[in-house]
Structures are given as C-alpha cells and as structure tokens.
Symmetry: C2
Subunit: 353 residues, 2 copies
C-alpha cells in the first residue's frame, strides 16, 4: 500500500476508527495522487475510490497496483454495496470541516453508519509537516516566482494596466510552472490600500506604488510571495510605513523556528504596528502553504499553533491606509529546528523601477 | 430594501423563519451584489453583512443606502452581539448544502440558535428563474462565446498545442468579457475520449478531432458551449457517432419547454444512444447556468426537475469511445412557454478547419 495510506490506517487504528470517508479533494490528492471528483472510502479491508464516468480513465492511469486502491464508477454501486462498505465498523471518521451538513446526513443514511465521527483536521495536520519531495516542489515554485518577479522589474512601466501585468504573470507561470496558485493581485496607487484588490484597468503612473501578490504551482504545490515596489521614487509619506512593515517582516523571519508560538509572534507585530503610528494588522500574519495555497497552520492571534520543523508557511505583514496606499511584504519559508529558510528570495529593500 | 432581499423576507415569512444565515457567496452576490468573503444575516429587524478588514472598503463601495444592509467588521462584533442577533427567533434558516457540519455546530453555539432549520435550496430555486437583466448578461456572455468560436476557426491549425488554444480562448475572454467561466477544455485526438480532459501539450495534427468546451462571464453571469470540430476531414468512423450526438442534441432543443420533465428528456437520449450502437450517456445531459456555471436545475435521470419559463440551461449530449475519440455538442438556452431560445448559435454541422 502507498505509505500515506498506510500512515492513515495506523492513525485510524490509534483513534479506534474502523472506517473513514475522505471527501476533500486536496486530502485525496495528498493520500493517493488522484485529481478528480470523487470520494475515498477506507473500509476494514479495502481502499475504495468512487468517481464517475468523466474521470474513470484518468484515475485508472494515475494509480499503480502498488497503491492498492479499487476504483468504482458510482453507477455500478448498488444500494447493497453501499450498506456493506462499513459493515462491522463501529466508528467511521469523516471530515467535518469539509462535508456539508446535508452530505453528513446523506452519508449516515446511505452507508448505514452508526457513529460518524469528527476527525478534527487529522489529515490536514499531517499535511502541515512536509516531506523532502513536497519541499522540493514548493522550492521549485518559489524559484519560478522569484524569476518571474525579476522579469517583472524589467517589464512593468507606466501605461500598462494592472490587468495586463497580472496577465503577464499568469502567462509566465503557464509557461514555466503549472499555472497560478491563486488569482494574482496587482494593485497600484490607492488600490494598494485594499489588501485583496482585484486587478483593474487602472494604468501604472509615474511615482506609483505597486503591490504584487503572486504564486504558482509545481506538481500541485504552491508558492506565495508579495512585494511592494515603486515607480520612479519612493514617496516620503510611504517610507515610514514601508520601513515599519519591512522591519516587522524581518523580525518575524528571525522568530520563526521550531517551537515558536504563532500567537506570540503575531502579537509582537500587532503591538509594534500600534506603537508606531497606531496601525492595525487587519489580516493574518501568514498561513501554511502546500497543496492548498492557504492551509494550516494559520499564523494569527486566534491560532494556538506551534511551529514545527518542515512546516512551510508565509510571513506577510501589511499596513493599509484607507483611500491612500498600502504596503505588504511576504515570503514563503520553511521552518527548521533553529530558524527558518526563505524559499522566496526577491529583493525587499526599496525597489524602484 | 433591495427587491431580492424583500423577496427573501417574504419567503422566510411564509416558512415561519424569523432569521436566516446566508453563507454561500453566490447567493450573497445574487441577493446583494456583494462579492467578498463574509456572511449575510437576516435578523428580525436588520440585514447584516459580516466581513473582515480585507473587504470592508470594497463592500461599502458596492452598497447603497437603498440596500438597507449594515456592514460589520468581524473584529468589532462581541460575543454579546452574536447572541443578540437572533434573539426571539424561534426558527433560523441555513444553507445545509453549503454549510459544513463543523460550521453548523458553530452557528448553533455562537448565535445561541434554538432551531437551525434546513432551507432546501430556497435561494437556489429562486435563482433558477432568471429576470430580464440576468438573461441579458447571459446572452452577452453567449454572444462573446460565439464570436470567440468563430475567431478560433481561423486561429486553430496543426502544430498548435491544446494548451496554446486554451490560452488563446482565455485571452479573448479576458479582453472581451470578465474572463473565463470555467477551465476551458481543449481536447484533441484520443484526448477527446475524456469528457473532462485538461488541455495538454499535445499538438493538433492533420485529420484530428477537437472538442472545445468554453464559456465566459459577463457581470458575474456565465455562458457554456461545446463544439466538436475536425481538421482536414471528418473520419468515416466518427461520422455515425457525430450524427447520433447531433440528432439527439437537436431533438432535445425541440423538447425543452415550460412544463417538460428533464428526467423524461434524458431518458429519451439514453434510450436513443443505447438503441444506436449501445452507447452510454456517461454524464448529465445539462445543468442550469447563471452566476454559477453549474447550478440547478440539473438535467439528468436522477432529477425530478420540471423546466420553467426563463430558466437558462445547457443541452450537452456526448458519446465517448475509450482510448479513441469522443463527441460532445452543447448549447446554452433559455426556456420559454412554448420552446427554447438558443443563446449560443455557433455552427453545429460538420465543421472542418
């Protein structure tokens, strides 16, 4: 059996789960490498992937005998089959943070399950710690992101629209990687004051500030980086904000290491922003990066997470002055025993194009 | 109050719901025009949209006083506020097909709700019937799709890869519309046998068959069209399959009208496919199109839906010969009292480039 499914079965044993229904496609991709629409059932004796006619061919070609996964077309499964899958299973786990309330009720009915048990991000927690191959994929995605950013420094000039720049990034990623990891943000001028701005037809002007939040995918794994850059010169009113964000971003890089409390680190940034001008940190300080662009651990004051070796997370403080401008600086990093390794390495000092 | 929220309040009254939690962003967009991450609460006296710092500015600029929606930053809501929102509400509705089991439990706890009641696609059912403005948007998206298809007939030639063609479609849509409505499918040669193929680096060859499934967005509303075309000539072995698919597609256009049973129509196609060569219809015959690319009504044997005036649905029969080729032909249409109006109008007879 593939080692990730073996891990899952051991984990289920330790939790007294005799069966499990896995519905989150990212968790299924993680465990089996299958990318399709379907459900993975771990029963007492078998690993079963149920999909439909659209995906049967593709799924069969992804799997090897070594995976020990039986693929079913949903059309070929009888009501009896469904009722038999989890026979003699006292407890069957499910993903309560992914499965809708309606689906939860359907599972109980369809599979005749006695105890459908919440599994509290069991697979997501395992996914937080990346193995060598996963980190390699993320590093590749980060390298391509750095390369794309260098390319952009030569490409961007007054007259181009935010949309054109975002499109250029997407094309770059389509060529060099497996496409974008999320909708690229290119915000200019006062649009930078919206942390989650969608690229518009606004044209880049002389003396503009530009925030670019970008990432791509390699073999399913994501990169995530933000830089705030300037056209012609850095306006005086922006300098102190930029310096404050950068200083905090660097401090966080120093604090990220095995055993660190993400809550404490976020509090530190919040306190420092408040102290120097009464600014708020209006979004999370960061998040895990892997098969999903946003995944645990979440780096915020509300999170109890402790950083562990081989977690891959972002570090992205930002300050936004409503209607005026905003500054965000973000890297993707790998946590180690004694610190962190930056996986994105683009310039962070004042960058003027 | 905006008329869609007024409709919702009347509907809630008729179902004895004193409050409602709306979490599905498409339903929120439909009711309020807001596109952000957040939750809409309909309480006894107020309409409340809760979002976070990333979206406050954008949401405020979307709304007018006329909407009567109060916007809160989630950070400013106390535990007491939460417990007060639904005070004196006996029944509070929620979207059981969207809300996860974990969220369902959180809502009950956080808002101190007595009866959190399933609302059975209440808003989605209303969304099935499009008003004039909605149909106008879909028609625009369909026109742009027809135009893009004509453009492609001149653009596609041997040597181009599936990915290059898909990218060209995306660029066309980025320029003329608000981007793609879903990941474009461009499948060539034996890749056409996978109904849900992702574009690959395979190059178009002489005498290839090509299936293109494409759609764009206009003001949030989608179009959806598939054509199967040929390079140089139509291979003899494909002709009978193409003819069979097209004949059924045209028959379905004749059968689509107010009052028609989607189950019966699908059965008819299934029967006809079986009769002429023992082929299976391995996916749905169609689906509703609107703010979502796939939305109710679903056109399949499992659906109890009856077509109604001003529903907008697709008609997309397909036959797939594993490892060899596949043919799918799809239009987006508007249902009327006495028939249907095709919103996509590209050529469907043998198209040879």
């Amino acid at each position: 059996m593939n080692p990730k499914l073996q891990w899952l079965r051991n984990k289920m044993n330790s939790l007294d789960l005799q069966g499990m229904i896995i519905s989150n496609p990212t968790n299924i991709k993680y465990l089996t490498n299958i990318e399709a629409e379907g459900t993975l059932l771990i029963t007492r004796k078998e690993n079963i992937y149920i999909t439909d006619g659209r995906y049967i061919e593709e799924v069969q070609s992804t799997l090897t005998i070594y995976d020990e996964i039986i693929v079913y077309d949903i059309k070929d499964i009888s009501i009896d089959d469904k009722e038999n899958f989890f026979m003699f299973c006292e407890n069957v786990g499910f993903e309560e943070h992914f499965v809708t309330y309606a689906k939860y009720k359907e599972y109980i009915r369809k599979y005749k399950i006695n105890n459908l048990v919440e599994t509290e991000y069991m697979i997501e927690k395992q996914r937080m710690i990346k193995d060598e191959e996963e980190i390699e994929n993320i590093q590749k995605a980060c390298n391509i992101t750095d390369d794309c950013f260098s390319y952009l420094l030569g490409y961007i000039k007054p007259g181009l629209t935010e949309k054109q720049i975002a499109k250029e990034i997407e094309e770059y990623y389509n060529q060099k990687a497996d496409g974008i990891a999320f909708e690229t943000i290119v915000a200019s001028g006062e649009n930078t004051s919206k942390p989650h701005a969608t690229p518009t037809d606004r044209k880049i002007e002389k003396e503009d500030i530009i925030t670019i939040d970008m990432g791509c995918k390699v073999n399913g794994y994501c990169s995530d980086m933000t830089r705030t850059i300037f056209v012609g010169k850095v306006p005086e009113e922006i300098k102190p904000i930029y310096d404050l964000v950068l200083k905090n971003q660097i401090q966080v890089l120093n604090d990220y290491k095995e055993g660190a409390s993400v809550r404490q680190i976020t509090k530190m940034v919040e306190g420092n922003f408040k102290l120097h001008g009464g600014h708020n940190l209006i979004h999370s300080l960061g998040h895990g990066v892997g098969l999903d662009i946003h995944e645990p651990p979440y780096i915020s004051c509300k999170s109890e997470a402790i950083l562990r070796e081989n977690m891959v997370v972002t570090n992205e403080p930002g300050i936004y002055i409503a209607g005026k401008f905003g500054v965000r600086i973000e890297d993707t990093v790998q946590i180690t025993k004694f610190g962190c390794i930056k996986l994105t390495n683009s310039e962070k000092n004042y960058t003027i194009i």
